[in-house]
Symmetry: C2
Subunit: 223 residues, 2 copies
């Protein structure tokens, strides 16, 4: 049995990723980042999912990314768009996956983990640069040089098992692994109860995924 740090936002992709890591036989240390997102329903979902999917522990690290602004997800002065975006959308959080992987790397060293799981996805990636395979490969190169563990000969493997899957393939996979998608929160502007707006990019991609998979959409919507 080996050990992994799993990045868990509380959304559909990261929940599926945790289920996969457990399916791989990993002892899972789930890590969420409280980076000043607009709502905390996502973090509550993460906590519930860590428990229901059998993570060994779950920690939330606080980081005030709102302090530097620049994203509709952390800066209240920028509105979340409700029409499809062209190019990189304003919901992009600057360097978010770089920061999350860096924090996961630090914790992976402390718990002596063999792998880090991240639920990035290159197909339905919403236009974010830090969701692409090249980005993950570059972080692997960095991790091979950055850590005490790697210097001692034991690299930490960066695993992005969803990277080449469509949203439909992800939900079909997750259903087989027993993920309760009703408990996940993907919406960029969910309400306090975690109910989705149904209009933002993330809601659109998620709904499309269930449609294309031929599954009923279990998402709890605001109306």
């Amino acid at each position: 049995m080996t050990r992994a740090v799993v990045l868990l936002s509380g959304g559909l992709d990261s929940a599926t990723t945790l289920a996969l890591a457990r399916h791989d036989g990993m002892i899972c240390h789930a890590l969420s980042l409280d980076y000043g997102q607009r709502h905390h329903a996502e973090l509550e979902a993460a906590s519930n999912l860590a428990h229901s999917l059998g993570a060994a522990e779950h920690r939330v690290m606080r980081l005030d990314m709102g302090a530097y602004g620049g994203s509709a997800l952390t800066d209240a002065s920028i509105a979340v768009p409700e029409a499809a975006s062209v190019g990189i959308p304003v919901t992009y959080v600057p360097a978010r996956n770089t920061i999350m992987l860096a924090l996961a790397l630090g914790w992976a060293e402390v718990v002596d983990a063999d792998a880090i799981y991240i639920g990035v996805n290159a197909l339905d990636y919403s236009g974010y640069p830090d969701c692409r395979p090249d980005f993950v490969a570059a972080f692997q190169q960095l991790a091979n040089l950055a850590t005490k563990r790697a210097v001692n000969g034991a690299a930490i493997e960066i695993r992005a098992p969803l990277i080449h899957l469509s949203k439909a393939e992800i939900v079909l996979l997750g259903m087989r692994l027993g993920v309760d998608y009703r408990a996940t929160v993907s919406c960029y502007q969910a309400d306090n109860q975690g109910r989705a707006c149904g209009r933002c990019d993330s809601c659109r991609l998620r709904r499309q995924g269930f449609e294309q998979a031929g599954l009923a959409d279990p998402t709890r919507y605001q109306d």
Copy 2:
């Protein structure tokens, strides 16, 4: 005139790096990380140095790295060693430079900076893996793929101008640039007034630097 994010811990190396960035003509956005270090004298020093060396602004981001422990610098249950260490010392903070560069990268995107300056040093590097030239080069590769700005054709250059210098060369350079080293705090266990212990690895390397440079050591010691 171009713009840079400068990582500023409040120690000797980062103060010199800020002075160099200013000398390069950069508008400097100084960034310090409050990661639960044992003392806050270092952050106070950073604030004073940002002002005296002419940074355009200075921000402190809080991140509770103490939550995952693993280092003598963030975990109060691990003692700071007072004899020279073999291999990677316990004062190593897991993935610290990876995390600091990741945070700098996010801010660099927001302020549209052309460069990030970091004061890592490969010679007197105290055995930390994330102070080596290969590590910096790997982070540059990552930054080229990770950001909205890079996707749009404008990379962010990672500059580590001290990386091949000895501590003596660093202090000689800094003196020419007008750095007041009395205002810097390098000690791993400085007291509340920022006075150094004179015994930890960091104090040893610093004192040696002044000696080898033939300069009087301006450090304020506890005794």
